[in-house]
Symmetry: D2
């Protein structure tokens, strides 16, 4: 995932907050497991130019580093007296159950904590007017969770009052709270951690970053992303077959990605049938000479079929935003379904041009989100969860488990909520997409080029 | 892949050899593609402790870096006069056809090279007594290659005389040779590059590293590895079902990995049914108190079924090597099938102990090797191939395309052939396996532990 | 597929029309292949009650039979002088390319016909104002077709003038026309055959029945149907995970089936997560006491999630048809998207009842239609195509290849276009659905019943 | 499955044995479910020639029929007092858990039986020296069983004393015993039923036929078979890729099928890469002019790769049986691994001929057997199990649930154990294989034929 960077101005203090004291010997000590030193760290910038840029900006000669994740020899919580809780928030993502399972197994089997419970239906389940009581999570109940998509705990979107949620944690005797969710969830978790801090309570809050869009800052790859790409590829294969199955057939696939086009870009590279890939990071012009619609017409004229992949939101330069976004009662922007919008525009254009087309629209979102994790995501969830338990038992809090430059790391919630990770159009990933879709070709092949993307 | 490191003593000069001059303007310039500067670089060590260790060892304050991959503004080869050739060597690996396809498409479409050919059946096809003539590779012939496993070019093992192979390159007017293969292949490619150098020929040799075992030094992840893990998981699921389907059922799965247990370890983490995972890097004792066989007996006594995953070679501490390795006529070590060996030992042990078992042995090797690349590997092959073409066109030679710390990199063939990348038993990956298989557990759960692995 | 029957009044004369003479020795004779006698036949009614019903209705004691398919010792067409043509019509269906491939291979390899061509984009390609010229189909071009979904020939809907199409057949020297399509296509093919007959031309027209809905009379199972069920199951699994992932979560899946609910019913049985299955054959009442919406509310109250599967059209008893069907300019009924209609009704109902729900709508149609054939469909397509070639070469015409009671059969086009095959709600298949969805349960479990379907 | 027939001489009395009285009203009556009349029946012979043959042989004009399966209005067992038991025997087969699940759900939910238990590890668990106690099967414990391969009950091979087993049934208060297994299991079940009869006990014994080989007489298709074909196809695709990946590459796949080659034949048709398919029903000659080995040499000479599919046992005409079969202590024939035997013979032959080959052997047996049921098998298992419960509750015994000519049927255990169902080499299925593999081709293509199979 070389396609993005953390800009120096966004880099907060990377120190991880800890509960004290931390003087209990890790029960795994007797097993011979290898512990990680507290000063072990991982470079933020492996790219030399980025590093130089940072050092100059901060006027320092100290390269920034993330704390390394892993089991610590001394821990903060006494397992026999510790209850952990898990909550899953936001939309479904492949691997949620894998994370729940591995958090539970590691807490119980390796550390021997007293109890693990799961709050139901997101933060709503952590509020005083919860819809459903928390459930016990034991090795028996979680044993086969990884074979099922979705989340056994249920989920919901939306926020709750941090003070109320802390009350519930106290009422349930919770010592550790694992929140599995995206940047909204992490923001909520950070508020919980701050409220805990304010009340001087002995509760750790650890985030496991969940974003099917792969768009959390400081997180190299988020779980579920590779599964999403795999399933997206299936939908694109279908779109390609539909496109070729009709004269001037168009297969239009809308994929997840409100702010970041990682799924659309990576699925385009995983599949060699995509002619047009459009993402939020790269503005598109629809009309006029060399605009998308005209280029699509050229493509159809040459090949009589085309495959188009869209992320969930586009930056269309020649259409007033009002036409494809709305504002709700509270003034929040409400995006329309960009896929249906583009379908309409394409059909209108070709009707006007009197060119017959056959457009098939595929929106595989829920099929993707609800899928079981593929093997790589499954293994990744397991590792994330193990490291989240290590971090929590050592008393760390207000942090998120992450991975970066070949290592698992601890990052402050403040970093994970600093804007979105997006594709840098000038870097590797997007440039590969331009090549793979034939948007850039040797001048001598310009005429036969399979497709063109426009900005 | 945090589980390994490059030790300072193995790190050769990382400068990449180049053919000169390099003064032709890249035909992609007009397309607006972003070029990479020649001094762009990526840190070898993101782990701070490893970096300190290196700096101390080399007595320097210059962190080592890899050259960054990507298209260059000035190139060495005039596309109109350039013929590229591809050869695939060694055992099958998911993604071979993806690489062939993308090398061809990028060379032809983006750079406009004159011609791409493929030598048949490995280095044998590059020798004067080749079994089959090379074939033309065009956009049309490679278009759907990614939907098929194996290699359209055929492959073979074994070496050929470098001088003879260079003769064939000259005879075929080859300017660029892409070799897709493992460390033996890279060693051969390096000899070809050296012979070219000696003869002062204008031919670039670029390696695309292929190792289903993921064991090439300096390569963070090799293509086909994730697909192998995915397919290995399928086999383990089957083994688990077979094991549970019989009283004292044992499912024994042998996976690839002669020197490195990456597939076995990662598949164990991707699947939560494995009780014993054994790899070459971690010695195993079979007999005696606390030995593997006794622990297996305990496991069966507790649960009446067990799943065992083996890599292709094991370090067995209490069995003379002669019993499970042989030497061939030339004195080379010949390993027996460790899976069949362990099957026999397990059956003998339980016969002797008069404990009835039902052991099912699964060797999924060829099903795994011949599989099509999964989506992540498919996208990865495409990127590797694009970067290999960029490197070649810019006149780089005697190097291998790699990926490291979020970037694509150039590494000298000398690094890729410096010993194998192996799992560090003290680092992350293996420690996660120990936790996941229950080999380490809180003392209070020792009795119910699902399994134990021994060294 | 025991769920339907052919009613005696619909059974036309089952004699198959033949071109004469039929005196050329089958070139396969020398190979030792076994030939089928022309009087070999298969019982229409295996069900004794149905047979009695027929005999009584027709006042006969002769059980009706289908002609058995298979190679004949004497054939009508001289292979060396025979050109065959293939056309695919209507929506995509898994297996189209398998049929094209096997028709071509059998015609060329086994019979040695001179040439096979494919008309492009359905009957439109067979008209004088075709959009694209026909393409040659050779063993080389079709070799790997079975690995790709869709149809290499392209398809279209809609009719063409039979006289014009026969002109094109003559102009292209076609002796055999294979039409792959549903009942509209077969109707068109029959008109072509009648026009051929009228002109006294020596051209055979053979239909390979294609209907993803499995709704052609006289055809026990149509190709692509099992693949459709398999893919539908995937979508339902996703819907179930989405439903469980939210408080009062509802997963709503719309499947193919305008007149017949075979896909919805069979996918419901293939998946044990469906609570409500609705098909065109079984009327549904939405409102009121014991209506669908109230029962859904009860289900949510009990379990807090529900999975609903709909076929493409429903018979809603308490809603005026105008509300969910339209009439186009020509007076043809235009069905709205029943899935979106039901989504709206459900959301309105629960809004009114002030019950929060989270409904996720999945429409997997194009993903299903464009899929490659699964193994059973692939084998089935191959057999159908082989038998279609045998039938054509023997001079049969105006018929469709079918399968019935364990044998491949010849059925007159007149039968295949006699109304639709539909699910008999009183027979096996639907009764199994009622049991599997818990619509019928022992009275003592009525309270906990998982769901109820209403008529 | 048109490839076999039931010969008249093997057809026993088809009357189904019943326990009396049968006067309890089916609890489903109130639900409006449709009941099947006791005289509903299905024709044994749909093929007119087979029917004529039977009528002549038996000198009768009464076509033979099977009793139709389905719920009866009057039943024998009072649900409130009924305990049912399930046992699974023999090797794993996809769908075992589906059957267990659906038997349990239908018995509990629809009929309201008191209790369902499962005996562990086959008939061994039904004996007085059982290795493990039976377990309770409730809707909760079986709910997700269909997502897992294997059998939750465990299985074993081998027989037990019928008297002892009946003692255990009595000791456990069992009223209905469902046995899921192949012809050995059915033979055992029939002995249990006879012993019950002898003792005049009120226990029904119903078999659900399980044979991955699809070789039980009177059973049109057995569950798990389609899944086996699907997985076998995957292995063949791999073998094909391995074969093409080497000069004179040979992919050799051994599939299940000791007496009947259904899996090998159907997988060959589902996959278009097979050049040689060998099954027990069709004798093969290895050596000499036109023998298999010579033909393989010709094939390699033409194409340089070949794919061979073998069933588990072959009839080799020119090799003394002793060479490839053994006899064990009790005089039973012990077959060696035919795959390894053929591998050796092929390698020896080409060594002798001095032709270099590269043979890859794939034995996917346990991966296939342990797989979850595909959607069609899953739906089929559900239907079989529902009908088995209907049959049992109505007091039927000593019978097996089957499917035939589009209907579910009851067949006497005596029929199911009357020899094996095998492929008729003169009928449809095998003739399609001959065509698909190019074993028969038009004389003019003889030279280029893709392959030849010999007998």
């Amino acid at each position: 995932m070389e396609a993005y960077q953390i800009s120096p101005e966004n880099l907060p203090d990377l120190t991880i907050q800890r509960l004290t004291p931390c003087d209990i010997t890790n029960p795994l000590k007797k097993t011979g497991i290898r512990f990680i030193n507290d000063d072990a760290s991982v470079a933020v910038y492996a790219n030399s130019a980025q590093l130089q840029n940072y050092l100059k900006f901060k006027n320092t000669d100290q390269p920034p580093t993330f704390e390394m994740a892993g089991p610590r020899e001394k821990i903060h919580f006494d397992p026999d007296k510790t209850t952990a809780a898990i909550v899953t928030c936001g939309g479904l993502c492949p691997g949620l159950n894998d994370v729940i399972r591995s958090l539970t197994l590691t807490a119980v089997w390796q550390y021997g904590v007293k109890k693990v419970i799961g709050f139901r239906y997101g933060y709503a389940g952590l509020s005083s007017n919860s819809l459903a009581a928390p459930i016990d999570l034991t090795p028996e109940t979680v044993e086969d969770l990884h074979t099922v998509g979705g989340t056994i705990l249920g989920s919901s979107r939306g926020h709750q009052d941090p003070a109320d949620m802390v009350d519930q944690l106290v009422a349930n005797d919770i010592n550790i709270l694992f929140t599995i969710g995206g940047d909204g969830t992490i923001r909520g978790a950070s508020k919980i951690a701050q409220e805990i801090d304010r009340r001087n309570l002995d509760i750790s809050v650890i985030g496991v970053p969940k974003t099917i869009d792969n768009d959390i800052t400081g997180v190299e790859r988020s779980f579920g992303f590779l599964t999403a790409v795999e399933q997206a590829r299936e939908a694109i294969v279908g779109a390609h077959n539909e496109a070729k199955g009709a004269y001037n057939g168009i297969g239009l696939v809308k994929l997840m990605g409100r702010d970041s086009g990682f799924i659309a870009a990576e699925a385009t590279l995983a599949n060699s049938d995509v002619n047009f890939c459009m993402i939020p990071e790269v503005p598109v012009r629809l009309n006029g000479d060399g605009g998308f619609l005209e280029t699509l017409k050229t493509r159809l004229h040459q090949k009589h079929h085309a495959v188009i992949v869209l992320a969930e939101r586009l930056e269309i330069t020649d259409i007033p935003k009002q036409e494809h976004t709305e504002t709700d009662a509270s003034g929040n922007i409400k995006y329309p379904d960009i896929g249906l919008y583009m379908k309409k525009r394409i059909e209108e254009y070709f009707t006007e041009k009197n060119v017959p087309i056959s457009l098939k629209y595929i929106d595989p979102s829920y099929i993707i989100r609800s899928h079981t994790a593929n093997s790589e995501d499954s293994a990744f969830c397991l590792k994330l969860a193990q490291h989240a338990v290590h971090a929590a038992m050592s008393g760390r809090t207000n942090m998120v488990i992450s991975n970066w430059n070949q290592h698992f790391t601890h990052i402050p919630m403040a970093l994970a909520t600093t804007g979105r990770k997006t594709i840098n159009p000038n870097a590797d990933l997007w440039q590969s997409v331009l090549i793979a879709t034939g948007s850039v070709v040797a001048p001598k092949h310009q005429e036969q080029a399979r497709l063109h993307l426009l900005s």
